[in-house]
Point group: D2
Chain length 287, copies 4
């Protein structure tokens, strides 16, 4: 029920370069979305960033991002070589910081633009499938936080595509048990601070949009007047829900049912296929 910008990787830059600087920026988009499911996204936001500390920093607020003075201050003073930003349009769950993305566990961040359909009907089954040691960390009521803890339970830290495939598989299995037609919708970004994995998938096969920037040296030639392309390094990447700025040729769409990896020299696009649990295994006790 949201929108997100995931995520910059490259030379450390001030967060404001990505959040506020370009025309049609993420913050502008929070007021006037063109491609998003909701025109306005004013129900809180979050940013997560990596620096030389052990765990990433996370700043969340329930005020609309466009007028949040603290976000402006933070973005004008914090530099990072990898950061995520997310803006919510809540439907159903409370506007509170514990429901704002990105969610954090250790060095991992996770965020989502979409929803688990009919959440009230499947929530308990999904919560039961979360590992007992992780369960107490769940702080809010967002479908995405639950999805994150399912993915952690299923090995996110070792093999993100496999864990996300299984977590969505569980969501689809739980939905099907309740007769939900299309249990999952959305795009997901997750990172360990070194690489970012970004997924585009929906049960219906009509997923929310997802874009990534092209090759920086090419962009520099195409748009020599754009400072930002001179400033960032060749390997910089930005992944977004909707293109920012107005630069034909700058943005590539992630295809339906695909995922991409960027960072640490790892830069590829692959097919994403959900893995359903063996019927006998899912939701049986003890999980």
């Amino acid at each position: 029920m949201c929108r997100w910008l995931a995520a910059y990787t490259g030379k450390p830059i001030l967060l404001e370069r990505a959040l506020y600087a370009p025309a049609h920026s993420l913050i502008d988009q929070s007021l006037h979305s063109e491609l998003g499911a909701e025109a306005t996204n004013g129900d809180g936001f979050g940013v997560g960033w990596y620096d030389d500390q052990t765990t990433p920093g996370v700043f969340k607020s329930i005020e609309p991002a466009w007028n949040d003075q603290n976000l402006r201050e933070l973005a004008a003073h914090v530099k990072s070589n990898l950061f995520l930003a997310h803006i919510r349009a809540a439907i159903g769950s409370a506007v509170q910081q514990t429901n704002c993305h990105p969610f954090r566990h250790g060095r991992w961040l996770f965020m989502h633009n979409g929803y688990v359909a009919n959440l009230p009907e499947v929530k308990r089954d999904l919560a039961l499938a979360v590992d007992e040691s992780l369960y107490p960390e769940i702080a809010g009521q967002a479908d995405t936080e639950l999805l994150f803890y399912l993915a952690l339970t299923l090995g996110l830290e070792d093999d993100p595509p496999n864990a996300v495939a299984q977590a969505i598989g569980l969501v689809e299995a739980a939905g099907e048990r309740k007769g939900v037609k299309f249990p999952f919708q959305g795009t997901i970004a997750t990172t360990d601070g070194e690489r970012i994995w970004a997924f585009r998938y929906s049960s219906e096969g009509k997923s929310r949009s997802l874009f990534f920037t092209g090759h920086v040296p090419t962009l520099r030639k195409l748009y020599p007047e754009r400072e930002i392309f001179q400033e960032v390094t060749d390997d910089a990447r930005v992944i977004v829900s909707e293109p920012m700025g107005d630069l034909p040729g700058a943005w590539n769409e992630v295809p339906e049912s695909s995922y991409g990896v960027v960072g640490q020299g790892d830069d590829r696009l692959a097919t994403f296929k959900v893995k359903h649990p063996a019927k006998a295994v899912a939701f049986s006790a003890p999980v």
Copy 2:
């Protein structure tokens, strides 16, 4: 920089009947304005209501109105025979409760949909023109609060149309001194709990919209299926920035440079003419 709904007068009803009930309600409008200057109005809101207490109650919040749970609770439990509601789209001043409308002084409430142009340039002159005994009551930084205290200084409690005409006159005089072309824009509603005065005026002569409901018995005949018209009394009136619901014939536009009064059997529309201060008098010391 805002939108408002001013205001219901009539038989006591739950606030929610006016704020949430109709399709295209005020709360809907806060997300998707059609006539307003800004598409989204998510920078706080306020309601003011009268009951059997000495002064009206005022509830203000800096969260977007559409997801504020406390507003929903209040609106579902508080009944009033006269209330105002206002939703902000801030430009320039902070999103804080002391900048939310309606403003209160004793039994009076005051709110505004518009702006004082070039406020930073004229603010000090206008603040100086506020009566010394009223000055310490100014709690925020909103142009509207300043306008309210100017109007109080100039006799709002005795003759609202005259005081508002002089207050806007001062704003225009202050603006002209600084070379501001069109110093004032907007619609204003003010009330003492018995009658509501609503003004539509701008220096440019292109004022923001303002509507009031027609004759209730006529509306009952036109829309026999609408519960709300059966529920309210014959003398009920609603004044709004934009028509709510989708009822042709229900809404009359307040003409440019006019004001209306409703409540206590007083129900009329008149021409509004700004009164400029004598040049020698305005902004001279001692104020």
Copy 3:
């Protein structure tokens, strides 16, 4: 981890009469507790009140109660014949509205001054014991909300003392499984809008304090100068964590391991005994 004032029953009065009026009022206590476990209780608050609507109103805020302007407004304008108020001192769970008491389900309100010990260790077992149809209503992460839904699962709406006895029994059983010495601490108030049940119990047998007002006609004679006793009816009752005001003889302590009922002519004190679940039954799957 909190303090509460539960609750006025009697003739409808403005909430402010109970919240702000007396010296050493609830709001004062939130800043300077004398008997409470924490000296300062500044982590949000809530009030719940009954009127002629179907469900009670609930107002919650994460600002310290002592400076919350909206609470002052509400309390000065809302009258009720039965209301609860609660002030938090959070330890461990987030300061957010969904963690503020009182919690509501239909016509029922529930609040608690105390804690479930070692919550992270027992949370999952307790969540599993909540009825599947109630589970999706859990909106926050507070131990008290979980306890409320356990009590609802176990028949709170039919027999409050029995349901609370069983719910605390489950908490103690879950704690014992994890080697927790004293799994439960606290006082609880719950109401259906007609009667209030107030419990004082802790596994350790050293429960937080709980008081109720004496017989109003007696209080009137003892303190003829106190307006409040003239104003309220003979059957008025106030239940509190700590005595308010400085009136010897006004407050009776609820004994350890007891509960009281007030309202609707029902006015008694009884022994409270926790009911542990049959060992074979608790926490077995499927719940």
Copy 4:
């Protein structure tokens, strides 16, 4: 009406080292003050820090500091060689971010632990004395913000002790005109990012407390087991309202009617004497 910790200068350290790390830290003090005028300081807070950007960053919140998750995140990730922190206990003015210290103008920060007595009576006179070009920057209603703009009007950026002496002189003159016995109380810290000036003064001669750390090499010898003294450089200084930690010999009290300067090799203590405006000049028009 507040407390503050001003301010660290020295080698860049994480803010959390000063805000959270020591026993009896600033954050602890916000809950349990021993020397402060108020026992609890829960009405918002602010931090201001310098880095390699043009202007300092400022983070403000109206939640109690002790449970603010965003402050914890910021403090765990932001390093600075000079920063200020302030915690409020509001009396009279609203709990809103624009009333939180430190206040900022260009590269300057300013904060205050104390009050202008009888503010409503003198506020207008003081506001009139603010330079017309600075006046529109005043965003809140705090006495301290007004004092800051008076000091800026009177040359803070060129000669801080002289400007503060004149600003307090104006406050005293304005108070005397209204018959206020002791118009000013408090300690003040102001900085340009290179040096910190800290003042202790009150009209009554009974000023709030102010302390600064001693010579780091001496502290290292006295407390060899304290990591913090090993970590910071020889020239590090901390100025506080109340001593943090429990280290006899670590803290020196700033004497009554004195000010100190630290930073950039400038390290001295001097007598502070208020400069009253010429009687004919103050508060005459035009200011």
